[in-house]
Symmetry: C2
Subunit: 345 residues, 2 copies
């Protein structure tokens, strides 16, 4: 019995085209195309012939040819601020999952909290002719966003801006700040410090406003000397907490603009021998996965980052005309853990 070469694995690397499939199956290219896309009905016999030809030749359609013809790329662009951040990568995960069903691939580019580079990154996305765009919190000007929305649908987070081709997702940061501060006030704390986020950023500002509102509601006057500037990082929180302690102004609790800040602040307190929560209560914001493993586990305002990503993806899909299951965006929620306790005077 002579050995025949294994023709199942074509040795030549010449790409297989739809045309060859058609030839092998003995049908016209359009029939193959129709089967591939389910565009029209085809006789079972032909369908079978085509499918076996596809399998035999290991045919894979060239999506570039398709995109060129249809103008649809099956990609959505995502602008994020640093993939490194735990925060954004969770949102990215949500987007990825949300897009899964429709078969769209996310193309991720990262800005750097800089309006200029963000616009450049956005350009890169549109030059790839993405079918839609998701912008995860950026400082770029409204007009630029509107501009991008002229080309394809866009969803943007943390901004109040709507348009014909533009929707936004907005989490109530102020309410979160209120929740955190009210909790502290309810525990009897009246000297509550706040390590704020990056200046001029809407989310940072919102959280601070919530801090103020809770005070107003409780008829407690916040001491302005207890407001220190952080920058949303552990390093910044560390430095801010040090400044706070150096100032000598007494306080019994700190509301941090985010969990990273709280992590840094917690270390600074530790190094000065100040116990958490015995001496000082600590509240964070975001509720990152690792925060529940801080020692002690951090009380924090849970922000539904993953769900925001999911929601953004679905919303975009809807705008692009795909059937998208509606998802509910869960509200902000205070996760009370072990860094907060009653104020002992």
């Amino acid at each position: 019995m002579p050995l025949t070469p294994d023709t199942a694995t074509p040795l030549s690397n010449e790409p297989v085209t739809l045309l060859e499939v058609a030839r092998v199956a003995g049908v016209s290219p359009s029939t193959v195309s129709r089967i591939l896309n389910g565009t029209a009905k085809v006789a079972p016999a032909k369908r079978e012939a085509v499918e076996s030809a596809i399998a035999q030749l290991k045919f894979r359609p060239n999506i570039f040819a398709r995109s060129l013809k249809t103008g649809i790329t099956m990609t959505v662009g995502v602008l994020t601020q640093s993939i490194e951040s735990q925060f954004y990568s969770r949102a990215l995960k949500g987007i990825e999952v949300g897009l899964e069903a429709s078969g769209h691939s996310p193309i991720i580019v990262s800005g750097h909290w800089n309006a200029q580079t963000d616009v450049a990154s956005l350009k890169l996305l549109t030059s790839r002719r993405v079918d839609g765009v998701i912008i995860l919190t950026s400082d770029i000007a409204d007009s630029d966003v509107l501009d991008v929305a002229k080309q394809q649908p866009v969803v943007i987070t943390e901004r109040d801006l709507e348009g014909p081709n533009l929707r936004s997702i907005h989490v109530d940061q102020k309410f979160g700040g209120y929740l955190a501060t009210r909790h502290l006030l309810a525990l009897g704390h009246t000297r509550i410090a706040h390590i704020a986020g990056v200046e001029n950023r809407a989310d940072a500002q919102g959280r601070y406003l919530g801090y103020l509102e809770a005070h107003t509601e409780a008829r407690v006057e916040p001491d302005p000397r207890l407001l220190v500037r952080g920058n949303f990082t552990d390093k910044g929180g560390y430095a801010a907490a040090q400044r706070l302690m150096d100032s000598g102004v007494p306080f019994t609790a700190i509301f941090c603009a985010n969990d990273d800040t709280a992590l840094g602040a917690r270390l600074a307190l530790y190094q000065r021998g100040i116990r958490v929560p015995e001496d000082v209560s600590l509240v964070g914001f975001d509720d990152m996965p690792t925060s529940s493993f801080m020692t002690p586990p951090l009380t924090s305002v849970r922000q539904p980052v993953y769900e925001v990503g999911l929601y953004a993806a679905r919303m975009l899909l809807d705008m692009m005309g795909y059937p998208a299951e509606a998802v509910q965006l869960p509200p902000l929620e205070l996760m009370v853990r072990e860094t907060t306790r009653k104020c002992q005077p």
Copy 2:
């Protein structure tokens, strides 16, 4: 004076093609193409005419048409295990930066520590006809990797596998485990527990082997009851540390398979009132950014994750025939911080 409509911004959304640019500039399409790609010399006058036409029409070449013609997509596929992980997102950042110069865009897909879904993700990448592939640690079979490498160059991490179109980057995990354990032994610890990583994974195995080697070198017999299984997560580390304490077997130090594990273990110790480092020393692995903000800051083996990403990108670029600056991969390094101290008997 009659108001003329602002023609600088074309109102119609009809896409501008290279052909129109050529018409407006009064040259042939080939000339425009040549200018776009720098393929050949063109007369300064024509170049200028074309460039102004491009600007005026806001022309952006259709990369799909180009890719269709050239077969080059200017994209590289990246297979990662969950974008959520701090670990992988740092590597992704490295890849992003490494690719920046050449103008390639990374397309990121995530596997789930599952050989099967990883292969599917890889298929998605190749169906997008990426010019190269970077695989960030996967469990897929060698044969599948080799298979992908038939289509385009691939770089893979944490695997000893080379081929005509395949290179691998390998960090010496065993050496890292050795470093960590030697440090503990040098401090006088002899009862060193190890919370291992996921079973059957090369990196977890390597770190454990290093733990063993350091013991052998120091002529200390490791107590097999001090080896407990973790899974590279904080949760797993937490549970493992609990099991360890419940077992009643005495120990004075723990070497954790990674920082997440150490974070979990640290919480478990805290909850039982066991102090770090006074009662028990703790060493992690990876040296994630937040580890230096653990309380107390974690001693850990620094793994150059970002650099691995950078290195992978450059290596791939080189394989694809682009000039790529060589980068040095820094060696593993023990970052001694505050969770380890002399064993006090």
